[in-house]
Subunit: 209 residues, 2 copies
DNA sequence: CTCTTGTCGAACACCGGTGTACGAGTTAGT
DNA sequence: ACTAACTCGTACACCGGTGTTCGACAAGAG
């Protein structure tokens, strides 16, 4: 066995441990393939076996173990990859201007990401400690929190409920939409509209009364 | 092997297959114990083994297989039990009068039920086909749907989104609360209030604008 | 009291997934 | 072109859960 177990970083700026003997181009390719395959397989079935992942990566099962010490680490790496890919994608969204409209835009973009990789998340929850999951999600959550906070100070969003609760509600309504789609009661194209139509009123201040 | 595999029905009116040789008092006791244990164990850990369930039931693992052909059937029986126990409990809730207040009452009661047995549901989802799950939930869902429908015709609830969507949102916000509790960001006593405070505005008609 | 029904523990075969070991073959850096 | 890095398949030990069988024993129904 030649391969040394090093955490492969995502696309942007591979941070290698101190004196790294430099990975071969060959290896980098299979690592990328494995990671992609993991995301794909786990997104279809939360408890896909290592064999399945290896197969869809077009790689031997042993090769996988050559780069990741065990299944858990692989799942973690996959989730990390997926999350900060998404994180990068969301950077394109304009969050300035009216908080309500900004939120609508953010929801619209977030929705696809959540929809695609929600079963990957389930896979992760089976294997990783909750603390780790929360750490990985910290980035994306922060983004939403900041927007909500701004909306509150500007009077666009309600302040009688904690920010964390509001964020959680938005998150859960998106998951709800995903469930409705798999249940066949909702079509993907309408999803984003339904979500914003539901979340916005829930976020708004109590309107006199 | 003596025991005949018959689906044990919940408390109310045991429907036995045609010519049933009548089950012994002994057996009925252990079946009940097993069912309760299953609900309890699976609510703690979605993939509790048959051994664990048997142990908490104070019964041999073999005895379990004496009454349920396999793990899946046991899980199904447990879920069924839990659901129509809850169904019965919800019959006590007054759903007349102002739809908004009625909904608040319903949420308040439903919440505890959902909170207790949500991990049982997860267990079921691993083992049972989605169709079966939906069938089992049909009863409780109908109840909410009827209330929502009434609220719509009386102008208390919005009509620009499908009823099924609204019901699903309510469902998912409750699950969200459960997650927040396990995450330590929410205390159980505040949960019901947060849920209604969130769901009601989401259900209300668009208020001019 | 007797006989059927149920319970129990131990033991077993089976299955599928995980992680490791080996040896031969291939690929890419220099 | 040479060497170290990498990949592959097979094979193996291991583990834990499932479902079954057996034989002895307890308990309820008549």
């Amino acid at each position: 066995m030649a391969t040394t177990h090093e955490k492969p970083r995502s696309s942007t700026a591979s941070t290698r441990s101190p004196a790294a003997p430099a990975r071969r181009a060959d290896a980098q390719r299979s690592i990328a393939a494995i990671l992609d395959a993991a995301i794909e397989s786990l997104s279809r079935n939360p408890d896909a076996s290592v064999s399945e992942i290896a197969k869809t990566a077009g790689v031997g099962r042993v090769t996988v173990y050559g780069h990741f010490p065990n299944r858990a680490d692989l799942v973690e790496a996959a989730l990390t990859q997926a999350i900060d890919d998404g994180h990068a994608a969301l950077d394109a969204v304009d969050l300035t201007g009216d908080p309500r409209e900004a939120l609508a835009r953010l929801i619209d973009s977030s929705w696809q990401l959540v929809n695609q990789s929600r079963s990957l998340l389930i896979a992760a929850q089976d294997v990783l400690p909750p603390s780790k999951i929360r750490d990985l999600h910290a980035g994306p959550v922060k983004r939403v929190e900041r927007l909500v906070e701004r909306g509150r100070t500007e009077g666009a969003f309600r302040t009688d409920l904690p920010t964390s609760w509001l964020v959680s509600v938005m998150h859960s309504v998106m998951h709800s939409a995903a469930d409705e789609i798999t249940a066949g009661r909702l079509t993907p194209d309408k999803a984003a509209d339904y979500i914003t139509a539901t979340v916005l009123p829930a976020f708004s201040p109590s309107e006199k009364r």
